[in-house]
């Protein structure tokens, strides 16, 4: 079938989201990317696969947003080269480099050919995600002592008075590891370059050692702070491949869990944002609210962060009438408390002085670089899957997208406040309309060579899971994609012209995932 005015043969991918897929040649691949970009679409993810176990070669896949949903184009490669699309979508730069590190397929004539996810843990001529590379049977990698130093060619800024500040991978606070290289004059930041990949654990290879049932738990730990979003995306992909739809009650409970995760994380961030701007009161107040919130999650769902509750076929735990009543009280309390705290934040001159104009990303830059998620919405990227392509039960809710144009820390704070209010409204709607019935159905065997997509708006932004199944209900290839891929380069942009001490505040206002990116 045809989709919009793309000159491609496309087939709809079965599942909860509107996804189309087609094979393309190198010319069509570039052309489709350009066409999507010209229409204001974005690159959601780019990944590679190795078909050698089926007598095929490598393929490169790109997931693009179009008016009707998601377009996944697959480019089978004759060798190991594919067309560079990083000039069309700057966000493709690091994804293409990751594909090279892991598969040995490279973007032809790309301006940036540096390694990305590979540091010194494995040699440059070894490609761990190739099918021939077996994790368990692999001969021992070079020992720590004998390994070559990881010498990453940062772009150097030169001139009088310029110096570099290296930060990380181990940071001063309790956060994930990554390296930031600042080039500064005095306090002013001229350039920031991040080096990520420290947390690369080989998650994608690990998935290939698992059955579809086993994979759910790992999916929930790609980025543990967004466990609900990942678990739902994974379940969505599996359900698409196996051709089932979970019972209504399960879908409604999933929405409840997803919104609980969003509220919990936003409360947390708002506290830290106050603290990083010198208002410890904010952290004390919001972390108290959050602890109350986590304790209700523990009491009603058996886990403070709601891990392993969404499983392929449905959800693992039901909520009863008492639980519904308890959440109603909870929502009323949190709504009132957050309104009061918003008032205090808004009227606190010292806080607003730090927030306003700090770490700004203008809408045109956000659009050009493909910014997404919560941070994108603060820079006028009006995109929220819950409103754009609402999966059940969001199709009943008319979710309001929180968007602002200022693109500074203040805007990202405001988006969080507004999203808490909206999530509380959605939770109320779920509790009002929660259908009766089963909470799960059995998952039939998946076909060999099946393909499924999960696409969920987590608290940080859209999470994508691309799944290929193999024989015997096994995962043949799985690519999880975190919105942090898109937004990390924007963080580098946001600090330009700001002073070094504002970096922690700007960084926290983005709150990006390292684990979800490093894989």
């Amino acid at each position: 079938m045809r989709l919009e005015d793309f000159q491609l043969e496309l087939a709809q991918v079965p599942g909860a989201m509107p996804v189309w897929r087609g094979r393309v040649d190198a010319g069509q691949y570039r052309e489709a990317c350009q066409q999507v970009r010209d229409k204001g679409g974005r690159l959601v993810a780019l990944w590679a696969t190795d078909g050698s176990d089926r007598g095929e070669g490598f393929s490169v896949h790109a997931a693009l947003t179009v008016r009707s949903g998601l377009l996944v184009i697959t480019l089978p490669l004759a060798g190991t080269r594919f067309p560079d699309v990083s000039r069309i979508f700057p966000a493709a730069n690091r994804m293409q480099r990751a594909a090279r590190d892991l598969f040995g397929v490279s973007a032809e004539n790309a301006a940036d050919q540096r390694q990305w996810l590979r540091h010194a843990a494995w040699p440059a001529n070894v490609f761990p995600l190739r099918k021939e590379f077996l994790s368990a049977h692999h001969s021992p990698l070079p020992a720590y002592e004998s390994r070559a130093a990881d010498d990453y060619p940062f772009v150097r800024v030169e001139g009088e008075g310029v110096h570099e500040i290296p930060v990380g991978p181990v940071h001063a606070g309790t956060i994930e590891p990554g390296h930031f290289r600042f080039s500064v004059v005095g306090e002013g930041v001229l350039r920031l370059e991040a080096r990520l990949g420290y947390k690369h654990k080989g998650i994608e290879k690990r998935f290939e050692e698992m059955t579809l049932a086993e994979g759910a738990k790992l999916a929930g730990r790609v980025s543990g702070d967004a466990t609900v979003a990942y678990a739902w995306a994974y379940a969505m992909a599996v359900e698409g491949v196996t051709g089932i739809t979970p019972p209504d009650r399960a879908l409604w409970l999933r929405a409840l869990l997803l919104e609980r995760e969003r509220v919990g994380q936003h409360l947390w961030d708002l506290g830290f944002l106050g603290n990083d701007a010198g208002l410890a009161f904010g952290l004390a107040q919001f972390s108290r609210l959050r602890e109350d919130w986590l304790r209700v999650s523990q009491a009603l769902f058996g886990h403070r962060y709601l891990m392993d509750l969404i499983v392929p076929g449905g959800v693992a735990r039901d909520v009863h009438e008492q639980g519904v009543a308890r959440m109603r009280d909870e929502i009323a309390e949190v709504r009132a408390a957050v309104a009061g705290l918003k008032n205090i934040y808004d009227e606190h001159a010292g806080l607003q002085d730090r927030f306003i104009g700090c770490g700004q990303i203008r809408p045109e830059i956000a659009d050009r670089l493909g910014m997404t998620g919560l941070a994108g919405r603060a820079s006028a990227v009006a995109w929220d899957l819950r409103a754009q392509f609402p999966p059940a039960p969001y199709d009943k809710f008319d979710t309001r997208i929180a968007t602002h144009r200022n693109g500074d820390v203040a805007a990202r704070v405001t988006v969080r406040f507004e999203e808490i209010v909206e999530s509380l409204r959605l939770i109320d709607l779920v509790l009002d309309g929660l259908p009766a019935g089963d909470i799960a159905r059995s998952v039939p065997d998946a076909p060999d060579n099946g393909f499924g997509i999960g696409w969920v708006e987590g608290w940080r932004g859209e999470v994508l899971i691309a799944l290929e199944t193999g024989a015997g209900n096994r995962i043949r290839r799985l690519h999880p994609h975190d919105p942090s891929w898109q937004n990390w380069p924007l963080l580098e942009r946001a600090v330009l012209g700001n002073i070094v001490p504002d970096f922690p505040l700007i960084n926290k206002s983005f709150n990006l995932s390292y684990s979800g990116h490093d894989l």
């Binding site: 690369h200 654990k201 730990r221």
Partner: protein, 178 residues
């Protein structure tokens, strides 16, 4: 400012009041303070190292400082440098890319450098196991005194782990006599 002060007054003190005598936490708090006073001159300092976790354990480590657990109220503080730390709180699994940083952090920590591994992955490698990019449990890379299981372990379990490390006998006393 009025609203802010009012909010503080209305909120009151949330730090959980001393539990009943048979409650585990009370035992913990008392023993902890006694141990800290005796062995660490009144304050225990912790350096957290994320060696490759999914960021789940970090959520709970951060929660230790919320008003309910109020870890600083017990004399335990997170510090920015391993050179200032008595204890390393390490989450895992240890990725190969973090191996160097973890070893360097360990080497930079002054003796007795207690190490508490946090979470199922820190204890066993967890769901990530060992592979081309992953070295598994923390004790595969540096010596570990106490391992706290859980995915993620609760704040209370983490506090318990810290206490166990202090009272394990490795530290006799850092307070100089005389």
């Amino acid at each position: 400012m009025y609203q802010l002060l009012k909010q503080i007054v209305v909120t009151g003190i949330k730090t959980e009041s001393p539990p009943e005598p048979d409650d585990a936490l009370r035992v913990v708090a008392q023993r902890l303070q006694a141990d800290i006073l005796e062995k660490f001159a009144g304050a225990l300092t912790i350096r957290h190292v994320d060696a490759g976790s999914c960021n789940g354990c970090e959520l709970e480590i951060n929660a230790l400082n919320n008003p309910y657990y109020n870890l600083e109220g017990l004399g335990i503080r997170f510090v920015a440098s391993p050179r200032h730390a008595d204890l390393l709180l390490v989450t895992g699994p240890v990725s190969r890319h973090m191996e160097t940083a973890l070893k360097r952090t360990y080497e930079a920590t002054p003796e007795p450098r207690l190490v508490v591994a946090i979470g199922d992955c820190g204890c066993t490698g967890g769901i990530f196991g060992e592979g081309y990019a992953c070295l598994g449990r923390v004790s595969n890379v540096i010596p570990v005194d106490v391992a706290v299981p859980g995915c993620p372990p609760t704040p209370r379990a983490i506090i318990q782990g810290i206490v166990t490390a202090i009272s394990a006998g490795k530290v006799t006393s850092l307070v100089r006599s005389g």
